[in-house]
Structure formats: C-alpha cells, structure tokens
C-alpha cells in the first residue's frame, strides 16, 4: 500500500508549496510522473524479495520531486547522469516503465538488455547517461559530458546528481572545481536524503553543510526543499539558463528523504518512526503538489484517485511485460566488450 488515496491524512498538516507561475497542465503532468515513480517503486519490494528481480534495489520513494523537478527544467537534448538510486531519474528523464522494469528483471527487452540492472539503467538516445554503482562517479561523467557540449558548441546542459554520501568523496569536489574554473554548462545536484546508507550525514560531514562546502568553489549555490517540486523546477531552470548562457555551473543541494531503507529488504533501526512520519505527514512531495493543485481548483479528489489508479495500471502493465519477456541470449554475455576483435573467443 502506498497510502496515496485522497482519504488519507488531512490537508492542513502538509507544508504548502507555491505553484504560482507554473502552468497547471504542466504541474499535473509532474504529479502524474511522481505518482508513477512512487507506484513503480512500491511494486518493486515484493518482486525483489521474492527473487523475481535478481538482487536488491535502491528505492526512491519520497524523493520523487527531485527527479521530476530536474527533468521538468531540462530541454530534451540535455543530459543526466546520476547515482545508484536511479529509478526515479530514469523514469523522469523518459525511460519507459516497461524498459526499466524489464531491465530490473534481467530480460532481453530491458533498456540495456539485462546487462545493466538497477544501478546501470541507461538510454543515451534520450540523454540518460546512466545510474552509477560507484558513489560520486555520475557527477564526473556529467562534468565530462558538459565539456563535450561546450567543445561542440551545442545548446546542451548536463546534470550530475549524487547523494549526500557522494558529498564526502574527494572526486566529487575535483569535478566541481573543474566545472567552476572552466565554466562548464553543468548543473551539480546533491540529492541529500539525510543518510549515507545507514549513517546520518550530519555526523559524517565536516562543517555540517554540503552547500557551505560548495561555496568555496566560487559558483552559485542554492539549497532547496527537494520535496517541493515547483521550487526544484524553478531553481534547476534558473541553473539551466545560466549554464546555457555560458555563465557556468550551479550547485544545488536538494534536501529530501527516503521513506524506505537504503535498499530493499532491510530492517531500519537507525532512525525513529517519528522522523519518518514527520516527513510523510508534513513534507510528502506528492501530497503537497496535490493540495496545491486542489487549492487552485485544478484537481478534484476523484481526479487524483484516477491518476493513482492509472499509475498502478501502468506499473502492472510493466510488470506483466517484464514477466512475459524473453531472457537474453547467453551469447550476449561476451558481446560488445570492445569494438575490436580480441581473439579471446568472445562472441561478435
């Protein structure tokens, strides 16, 4: 159960968000994508635990607004590289639920034919340069991609997304430094969900603030409520415009929260139920957008329920598609290792 129906918690306890200046149809599309991500992620836990999906998964429930706000601010030709918690970014960038689900199942119809899986979802044809299994690595790839955009003179911006855990790896700051000194068309996003796996980031971060650390690199730094999709959109859009003008990168710290554990099937004993309930009950990004749309008369309760139902149908369709899809041909395991022939008996 994802507890999304309108019969849930009373509206007044949620922090308000400002959707002024955002067109209502657009905001409704955001809501639809956020609901899709939440339903998609909620369906995965039992599939992972039962072994239908090989291995554990890093769920993004609670962090939907970060991904949707970013993607909403980008142009289709823009590029996104992120980290191990990647499903929401993949879906927001435009990978289909079917291709992501089939990839998680390890099927031939997945976006990478079963080679990638949860941490290596990718579709370069739509500018999604992948999740990444190594903390901090996605930002470096985005930084390099933005160098490519710059050298080609393309109207194209790259976004590198890492978590609060990534804020404590050295190479993150190597990339921030280069992007700043070269004024690359890059948007640097720290998706701070408060916990580096199971340890509070606050206890691990010297100076106590990722944003303050970034300020030392001489680029604009914005700290954002990552559960406010409209604010995520506005700040990212501003960063995109700045990058596209040739004025260089922006550093955005998006404060958010994951409702589930670091990965599927984990017992959470490192934070309180009160803390989780506070986020769910006052800062939930979906409820806040629902209320904002409701207040401007753009979304009645039954319309919201219909969006929830549609999302669930889409996810069920994706699961049925993945279950019905063929496994990859084993010959694929040794294909496309290199472009040249190695003489090692690899399949061509």
């Amino acid at each position: 159960m994802t507890q999304l129906e309108s019969a849930g918690a009373p509206a007044r306890q949620f922090l308000p968000i400002d959707i002024g200046g955002v067109d209502v149809a657009g905001a409704t599309r955001w809501l639809r994508t956020m609901l899709l991500i939440r339903e998609f992620e909620a369906a995965l836990d039992p599939l992972s635990m039962s072994g239908k999906i090989p291995g554990g998964l890093h769920l993004s429930i609670g962090q939907e607004a970060v991904a949707v706000g970013i993607s909403a601010a980008l142009e289709p030709q823009d590029l996104v590289a992120c980290a191990h918690r990647s499903h929401h970014h993949a879906l927001a960038k435009g990978l289909t639920p079917r291709s992501v689900m089939a990839e998680l199942f390890g099927k031939a119809t997945g976006c990478r034919g079963g080679r990638g899986g949860s941490m290596h979802l990718a579709d370069l044809s739509i500018g999604f340069l992948g999740g990444n299994g190594i903390v901090g690595a996605g930002l470096g790839i985005a930084m390099g991609a933005s160098l490519g955009s710059h050298l080609r003179g393309a109207d194209q911006v790259a976004v590198g997304i890492f978590g609060d855990g990534g804020a404590n790896t050295g190479r993150t700051w190597e990339s921030v430094n280069i992007a700043a000194v070269w004024k690359l068309p890059l948007i640097i996003i720290c998706e701070n969900n408060m916990y580096a796996v199971e340890t509070e980031t606050e206890r691990l971060t010297g100076g106590g603030s990722v944003s303050r650390r970034a300020e030392g690199f001489g680029l604009p730094v914005r700290t954002v409520d990552g559960n406010d999709v409209a604010e995520m959109y506005r700040v990212t859009r501003e960063a995109r415009e700045r990058a596209a003008r040739g004025d260089g990168p922006t550093f955005i710290e998006a404060k958010t929260y994951r409702y589930e554990g670091h990965s599927t099937g984990q017992i959470i004993n490192y934070r309180t139920i009160d803390e989780v309930e506070d986020w769910r009950g006052t800062k939930d990004s979906i409820q806040r957008l629902r209320i904002a749309l409701h207040e401007v008369g753009a979304l009645e309760d039954d319309a919201f329920d219909e969006l929830v139902r549609t999302s669930r149908e889409t996810v069920q369709d994706a699961i049925a598609f993945a279950e019905g899809s063929p496994l990859p041909d084993p010959i694929e395991a040794t294909r496309e290792v290199t472009a040249v022939e190695l003489g090692l008996g690899n399949a061509r």
Binding site: G140, G148, I178, E336, A339, E341
Partner: protein
Amino acid sequence: MTPVTYSQAFQQAMHEEMTRDDRIFVLGTDLFDRGGHFGQVLGLGKDFGRERVRDMPISEAAMVAAGVGAALNGMRPVVDLNFIDFSFGAMDEIINQAAKMRYMFGTPMPLVIRGTSGVALYAAQHNNSLESVFAHIPGLLVAIPSTPADAKGLLKTALRGEDPVIFLMHKRLSGSRGEVGGPEDVIAFGEATVRRPGTDVTIVTYSHMVLKAMDAAERLAADGIQAEVIDLRTVMPLDIQTVAESVRKTGRLVAVTEAPCFGSIASEVAAWIQETMFDWLDGPVVRVGAKHAPIAHSPALFETVIPQAADIEAAARKLLKRRDA
C-alpha cells in the same frame, strides 16, 4: 624522412590527427606551454589553442572522468596522466567507468589515456608496470610501443578507434630516434612484429625490453644461435598467433617482461603457448621478468630487480642446452 624521437612521434600523430579530426582534444597537466613533461604534446598548444590543449589541475579522477563524459558526448579525448603511476587516483574512472561503458551502455568510448611507464629513475612510486593490470580488465586495450614508428602508428589507430586505450610509453625510450610513417600509416592493434628473424629460440617481449632482447640475440648470434625476437606492440589485444608461428619453427620460447613476473604478460603468453603449442615445444616456456620488489632509487639496486640482456641470454642458452643433453 628525418628520424624523430619517440616523444616527437607521439606529438606528430597527435598533430596530424587533431588536424584531421576536430573532435580530438587533449587534457592533462602542463600541456599548453610546456608541452607535457616529456615533450609529447610540444607545440600543440600554439597550433590548436587552449580549448583543445587543456591544462588541468592535478585531479586525476576528474581528468579521466572528463574524458569519459566527453567521449560519451561525441568527442575523442586524450587524457595525459603524465606518469601512469598517477592512474591510481583515477582507477575507478578507468576500470569501472571507461572500460565498461560500451558493455553497460552500448556506446563507443573513444578515449586514449596516455601514461609514461617502465622502469627508470625516481624510485618506487614512479615506476609501476601496470600493463598486465590494465590488460586484465575487460573493455580496455593496451598499447605499449617500443619504437617511434610504432608510437605514431599505434596512436593513430587508437585515435580512430572506438575503444578506451591505455597508451604506455617507456621513460627510457623518450629520446630514442627512428623513422616514422606518414599521416595514413596506421599500425593495427593485435599485430606483433618480428624484430629479428631466427630459427633456434623465440624471445617475445615488448616496450624497452625489446632493446634488451635484441642485445641478447646479438650475443647469442656470436655463438651461432639464431634467436627470433618478437615485439608484441599491444598486449591487449595480444597477438599470440605470431608467437605460436614462431614457436612452431623454433620449439623454444623465452617470454620477457620488465614487470614483476608474477601474473604478468609473460606469464599469460607462457600459459597460452603451453596450452596450445605443447606438442611443438622442445622444452618448457621460460619467463624472464622482474623480481617481486618495488623499484628502488639507486640504480645499483633496481637494475638487479629488472631483467638485463644477460638474463635473457642465459635463459635462452639454458633452454638450448636441453637439446644438447
């Protein structure tokens, strides 16, 4: 054509290829004015400007990451790591990112990572031999030329290909001179060359050890022993076919490397040849490699760790004695 040095050969290939293909650019430390610490990109800054000859901070991870990302986005970057020992700060970017991009994401990864390698001065932390480490990683190619002509021709192939290439240039070869090919003289990867034909024993090696193998072959020739010396030129792909053909003729193989012998390219060649050519061998495949120790500062120390021509010669003679017995 006037002979050029090994470093100049690299520079020539870069210049010709950057002129031919404006997607090629180079980044690294001290490139624009100094031309790299070995003169390997001297003058490129003047001719191609700061956009395409990019000076980097000493941030190895970001250097390679910049290359990986740019290669994903339509460019053909050359990342100059100065000494290949500095790759340790970028090992994730090389092994977990660059090497796996084609496989994971289905994309070309035309990235060249240049590093000075091999054993010479400056002690333990500037003299790691990493060719077998990189060759071990699926997705990476490893070029390790011994002559200016090969440096030029192999680099051209690397710059026209789609794979990440670790391009290793030996310190002691930097100033060595030789004729080089023209703008279209490319040398394919995975094609070893016979540096000296012979019938009695095969010596297979690469990089600076080719010179020592040639010395050893001269000494053997003085006693009427004809050694065939094979230069692998790339160790991934590795041209085992040329080695096998030679062994079919000589029946004896000495596999030489300057790297620690344990787990080395010489070990790989030895294993491969004994598996596939056992019936053609007149004796065991002998490996001659470095002793298992870091490289010291004093030449009096490190020259005893790496193989010398006399060690190669002795190994060949020992193999040949088996025939006489």
